[in-house]
Structure formats: C-alpha cells, structure tokens
C-alpha cells in the first residue's frame, strides 16, 4: 500500500482526534497550514508583481497554478520524463502561456479600463481552464510526492516529506525573487515601474517589456506553486479558481507587496484556515479566506502591515 498517502494521513488524524492532547493537534494543523500558506504566498506574490507593474489584478493567476500541476503530470505520465526534467518543462510551458496571455489579451486591449481588464482576465482564465479540460479531461489526478511519503514525526506531530519540499522550495524562490528585485537591472527597473510608471519610462525603462516580464515571473511562480502542492492535494483542470483566490487573499493581507508582507499574509491565511478546518468546521474552511479578504478590504485596504493613506478622494 505504499505510494498511497491519503488513507495513512486519515488514520493519523483519527488517532490524534481521540487523544486529548490539544497542543499536539494545534501543532499538527499549524504544520500543514504553513505548507499550504507557503503555496498561497507564492501565488500572492505573483498577483502583486503584476499589480505593481501594471495596476492589473490578474484573475487568471490561478490558472497558471493549475497549469503547473497539470503540465507536470502530462510530462511525467504521457512523455515518461523523470521528475527533474518534467518540472522545468512544465514551468517553461506555463511561462509561454503567460507570454501569450499578455500578448494576445492584455496588450491589444483598446480600452484598458479597470472593468475591461477584470473582464478580459476572467475571460482568459475561463479559456485556459476550458482548454485544460479539453486536453486532459475532468478527472482529478495525483502526482507522486517528490521523495516518498514516509511521515516524519516532529514534537508529536507528523509531517510528510512533501511539506518539507514545499517549505524549502518556497524559501528558495523567495530568496531568488529578492535577489532579482534588488540586485539585477531588470529587477530594479521593475521596482521603478511599480513606484511610478511614467517616471520610469522617462528615464528610459521599457515599461511594456517590464509588463511582459511581470507576466512571465508571475506565471513561473504560479506554476511552481502548482507543481509543489500537487502531490499533497491532487490536481485537476479546475483547481486554479480556489488557489488563485486564496493567493489573492494572501496578497491583500500583505498589502499587495511582492515581498515578505505577502509571504507572511500567505502563512497567516494557511495556518488560520488549517486551524479553522481542524478545530471548527472543515466545511467552512474555504469561507475563512474570503471572510478575511472582506475584513481586510473593509478595514485595512492597505494591508495588515501598510500605513494608511490620508487622501479622501
């Protein structure tokens, strides 16, 4: 029965539920919350990068997450590639999809009003989802974990190797991301665009190239998130909607920052969701993210850590 991790996890949970060790449970939920939170953080950073470069909230962001998982599966199963080859291929194809999306949908838009941009990115997300459904069907698929599924016990809680993979890869991505934005010319140019697009173009930065670059980076981040989470949650053509929205929620908590604030936002969301599901009700788990989303937008639209702006209009 090796290779089938879900029943084993189920048994673990059942055993834990019967013991009165609340603390252990909380620890358990926090661990799994942190790893899903890391996923939300990656997706949220993707949202923020595009938003900062263009002022667009890309409703299709979640579809790149879906593409990551589904493409990896495609390369693994149909082309029989090993994992180390399938992942870069999947990321590359997702990046290509990001480029096509920006070129075919965003750039040619004649009236880029906020409403039209919302509609066009929604339309894009439906199209990508629809194409995925046609190509790969409606079934839910599992991707094998990166390195087995023997649970590891830490302080009374058990975690799977995939959890560690997720956290490690997220840390790595965030480090690379930070390096890119602060130590490369393109990264610095993108930051300049996010402060003031007009000024950036006046000093010779090719803003349109930066917009394209932001879509590439976001689709890469999204697809990576989709790949590393797929072994835990399974993947299907329609997983992008929820993951995308939760990533957006992480970005909102972080005040649309493409740095640590959004990472913290994602982790907070992941842990709250996991605790809520475990201790309160699993049915309302998905509602938690949206209640947080609304509360933040209503009360602190600048994010949990941002400073308030004083302008009224």
């Amino acid at each position: 029965m090796k290779g089938n991790s879900l029943p084993m996890k189920g048994r673990e949970f059942l055993r834990k539920k019967r013991t009165p060790m609340q603390l252990e449970q909380i620890l358990q939920y926090s661990f799994s919350g942190l790893s899903t939170g890391a996923i939300y953080a990656l997706i949220g950073i993707g949202f923020s990068i595009i938003f900062n470069a263009t002022g667009i909230i890309n409703f299709a962001q979640g579809e790149f997450v879906m593409l990551g998982g589904m493409l990896t599966l495609f390369f693994l199963e149909l082309l029989q590639l090993p994992l180390w080859a399938a992942v870069p291929c999947a990321v590359a194809v997702s990046a290509l999809a990001g480029i096509l999306f920006e070129r075919l949908a965003i750039r040619p838009l004649r009236q880029p009003t906020p409403i039209n941009l919302v509609i066009i990115t929604i339309a894009g997300s439906i199209l990508i989802r629809g194409l995925a459904m046609l190509l790969w069907g409606k079934d839910t698929h599992a991707i094998p974990p990166f390195s087995g599924d023997e649970p590891i016990s830490i302080a009374g809680a058990t975690i799977l190797p995939q959890h560690i993979w997720i956290l490690a890869i997220t840390v790595l991505i965030i480090a690379v991301n930070k390096f890119f934005f602060y130590h490369t010319i393109s990264g610095k140019a993108m930051r300049a665009c996010s402060y003031n697009r007009r000024a950036a173009s006046l000093v010779g930065i090719d803003v349109r190239r930066m917009v394209l670059l932001s879509f590439i980076i976001s689709s890469v981040l999204g697809s990576l998130a989709g790949i590393i989470v797929a072994p835990l949650t399974m993947t299907a053509y329609d997983v992008g909607i929820m993951l995308g929205l939760k990533g957006f929620c992480a970005a909102i908590i972080g005040g649309m920052s493409s740095g640590m604030a959004t990472v913290v936002g994602g982790l907070i969301l992941g842990v709250l969701e996991s605790l809520g599901a475990g201790l309160i009700s699993s049915g309302y788990k998905d509602a938690i993210a949206f209640i947080i989303l609304l509360l933040i937008l209503f009360i602190r639209p600048q994010g949990l850590f941002g400073k308030a702006e004083s302008e009224r209009v």
Binding site: S310, E311, R312, V313
Partner: protein, 250 residues
C-alpha cells in the same frame, strides 16, 4: 463670504500649504496666483472638499464648512471647475448640464422608475433650465453632441454652464484659461463678467496674468505654500516681493 483661515496641509513630510488665510467678499472676483508648486490647486482642493487639510478652517457665509465633502458643499452653494476639465464624457452636452440640476430636483429612485407624474414634470423643468444655461454660455447648438467629443474650449464652457446650473453662491475655477486660444480667453473674461453680474462670487486660480489683472478685484499671491501678498491688481503688480518670486521662479 468665503473665509479661509490658517489652512495647512502636509503631504508625507512636505508642507504644501503653510498657514494660509484670506477672506473673499460677496460678489467679488478674486484671483489666486503664484509660481508653479505654490500650492494653488491644493488650496482649491481643500476648500472644495476634495482633500483633507492638516489644520485650519474654511467658512462659507459664516458657516463652518471645513472638511465637508463636495456633494454637501454643492447644496450649500459652492461649486468648482477643474484644470483638466472633468466632463461626463459619454453623455450629451445637455445631459451634462442636467446633472448640474441634481440638487435642484428631488425625485427619488422609485418615483423615477415608476414614472410618477411629478417626476415627469420635474424632468421637463430640468431640461428647460439646462437649456437656459446652455444659452447663457452660448453653446445651445451643441446640446445633442457627445461631451467627450467637444473641443477643449467648448468643453470649458460646458463645464462652466454645468457649474452654473447648480445655482451656486460661489464658483471656484481652476485655471479656466488653460488650453484656450486668445479669442476664447476673451470670451471667458466676458463670461466671468456676466457671472459676477448675477451676484455670484468668483474665485480663480490662473496663470494667464492678463486675464487675472483684467477681471479680478483682488488677488492673493501664494509662493511655496505661503501667502506672499494680497491686494488689488495694481498693488500686486507693484509689490517687490511678488516680482522677486516670479523672477526667481524663472
């Protein structure tokens, strides 16, 4: 009529306005001038409720209006125009002015939707009044044109017609001559004269000195967020500090 006292506005550490005070008399035409970055538009935005002030107060006809939102100010008789013209671009010229009559009408959502007789009668009244203001500003012929397609000069006239439809006691114009040719500017000067003739107080921020000296009774000069001088056009023209500020600005 309009009493501005001690208005200060700090934007993230930069003092855009520093303790600016002046008083404007009923029925007068006052110009607010100053080099670029003097804080004129910021001052306008604070008076008309678009920005918050950091400290200070504004009174209109003795009533404290500090910090009131623009929609409240409209009902109290204060209206403004914008430097870059803010028209309702997708609507016709006539409809633009009809929106100006919003405060002069009262049919609610349900009365309008159910076509109550009084709301139909009111609609007719609104249309007639709007036509009057188009005539007043001389753009009757454009009534059915789409506002977004107007030339800058005509757009400016429409903006003024729309503002007058509110039947204000005081109208603030932010650089009304910007983007106008010399003939249009002449027409504007005449229009301002006509508006003042109706007893409406006029305040304008303006760069066109000829226009300011021509139409204004009094002038307030701002420089670097502070009030530099105040007086009649002649006094201002002879004020050494004002001349220095303008020359220093290049």
């Amino acid at each position: 009529m309009l009493e501005v006292s001690g208005i200060t506005r700090i934007f993230g550490g930069v003092t855009a306005l520093d303790d600016v005070s002046f008083t404007i008399g009923q029925g007068s035409v006052t110009g607010v001038i100053g080099p670029n970055g003097a804080g004129k538009t910021t001052l306008f935005n604070i008076i008309t409720g678009i920005y918050n002030r950091t400290s200070g107060s504004v009174k209109l006809g003795g009533k404290d209006i500090t910090g009131l939102p623009p929609e409240r100010l409209a009902r109290l008789g204060m209206v403004r125009t914008f430097q870059n013209i803010e028209l309702f671009g997708a609507m016709t010229v006539l409809e633009n002015v009809m929106v100006g009559l919003h405060t002069k009408s009262s049919s609610g959502l349900l009365a309008c939707s159910l076509m109550m007789p009084w709301s139909i009668a009111e609609e007719r009244r609104i249309r007639e009044a709007a036509m009057h203001w188009l005539e007043f500003t001389g753009i009757t012929g454009l009534a059915d044109d789409t506002a977004g397609n107007l030339s800058f000069g005509k757009g400016r006239l429409l903006e003024i017609a729309r503002a007058l439809a509110v039947e204000p006691r005081i109208i603030l114009m932010d650089e009304p001559a910007a983007g106008l040719n010399s003939q249009e500017t002449l027409g504007l000067a005449q229009l301002i004269g006509k508006i003042r003739g109706m007893g409406i107080t006029v305040v304008l921020v303006e760069h066109d000195m000829e226009l300011v000296m021509d139409v204004c009774d009094r002038i307030v000069v701002l420089n670097l967020g502070k009030k530099l001088a105040e007086g009649t056009p002649r006094e201002i023209q002879e004020n050494a500090e004002v001349i220095a500020a303008y020359l220093g600005d290049g």
